[in-house]
Symmetry: C2
Subunit: 221 residues, 2 copies
């Protein structure tokens, strides 16, 4: 029996972030699918593990966490492989990582998710994207990526010269954006484009995509 | 010359969180006011220290941070007084704090700030609150405070039995809510009410309010 459990959905970017982090650390875990279309995350059984009704929930040795970035920070502190940690122990370097984790949370993800909603989720449900919303979100995301382009002129990865959890938490939304017209925002910025293509090629991310493809094949069979 | 600088506004909850944390740790700092009404945070000089144009920015020994929760986490790790740290060093306990920091960020603050905008900021500018928005935000905040009421039946403070940065980051918005009709949401929940009144009585918070009052008296003189 795996000691670690992830209750989540392969359609949830937050779940995919946690899975990528587990694979980065070579950790065993059990994946417990939560059917978001059926509203399982709002039912009593699930609310008893996350009162806010969102995936993922991560369980490890009796501790339950339900905020994805909190899960990832702690996992990287607890299980970092000696010399290959995805965090820093030094206070000043930790401060920089903490700052860029919150940038992803407050600046990158909101316009990215708005674009994914308009351009992927609405069309899947037979609705047309609202072009005004799309234009506004693209402008906001473009501004964020300008900041990233400058960061990436100073560092190899977004927060430092090594790959860290700051990069990990960008993976699912970058993957989605690359399959949409908004990929022009990434491709027109050379350093962002190179960073994006390098981190999407991580073996951990390939394993997440494999899980997703297997589940899709199973659902279609 | 103070080694630490806070560029911010006494009208910004995020700035006040950082100030409360500085006072909790008895740290010297220089406060550099940024005039939000004059849009100083969107001008070139400020954008060079925070490309996202928001206060506060915190400078300590060459490191500049602009996300308030990141600043607070790192300050508490670097300057915690032996035996009175506002964080935990143990991985499992850290995981719990990290989770509740993100709860404040994602669940508590959004409806709280919506209420403050409708009930305080709009009336100050001669606008009427939108009662539909108020009702929706009160319902959301009420749900969050139900979760807090249950947490506080297990722990003395929000994330554990000791006062931590999770409590610190709630101070400014709790203070504002207590001066508005939404205080009924706090007062109708006995444990939330007791927690709120205890943490608002911290000497660190009294010092923040004193800074605010002095600045107001100076502006009015």
């Amino acid at each position: 029996m795996a000691v670690r459990k992830v209750y989540g959905s392969l359609n949830s970017p937050a779940t995919l972030k946690v899975l990528a982090c587990l694979f980065e650390h070579d950790l065993d875990f059990e994946f417990v699918p939560v059917n978001l279309d059926a509203g399982e995350q709002k039912k009593k059984a699930f609310l008893s593990i996350n009162p806010f009704g969102q995936v993922p929930v991560y369980e490890d040795g009796g501790i339950k966490q339900f905020e994805s970035r909190a899960i990832i920070r702690c996992m990287a502190h607890e299980y970092g492989k000696k010399g290959e940690e995805l965090i820093y122990w030094d206070a000043k370097e930790q401060a920089i990582l903490a700052n860029w984790i919150d940038v992803e949370d407050h600046w990158f993800e909101p316009p990215a998710m708005k674009l994914i909603f308009e351009m992927v989720i609405k069309p899947k449900n037979g609705l047309a994207p609202d072009q005004g919303v799309v234009a506004e979100a693209e402008a906001k995301l473009g501004h964020v990526l300008d900041v990233y382009e400058r960061q990436l002129s100073k560092f190899k990865y977004l927060a430092s010269d090594k790959f860290t959890i700051v990069d990990v938490i960008h993976l699912p939304n970058l993957q989605s954006l690359m399959g949409m017209p908004a990929k022009k925002l990434i491709e027109s910025r050379p350093r962002v484009r190179a960073w994006c293509s390098e981190i999407l090629a991580r073996p951990s991310w390939a394993k997440v995509l494999e899980m997703k493809h297997k589940a899709q094949a199973y659902a279609a069979s």
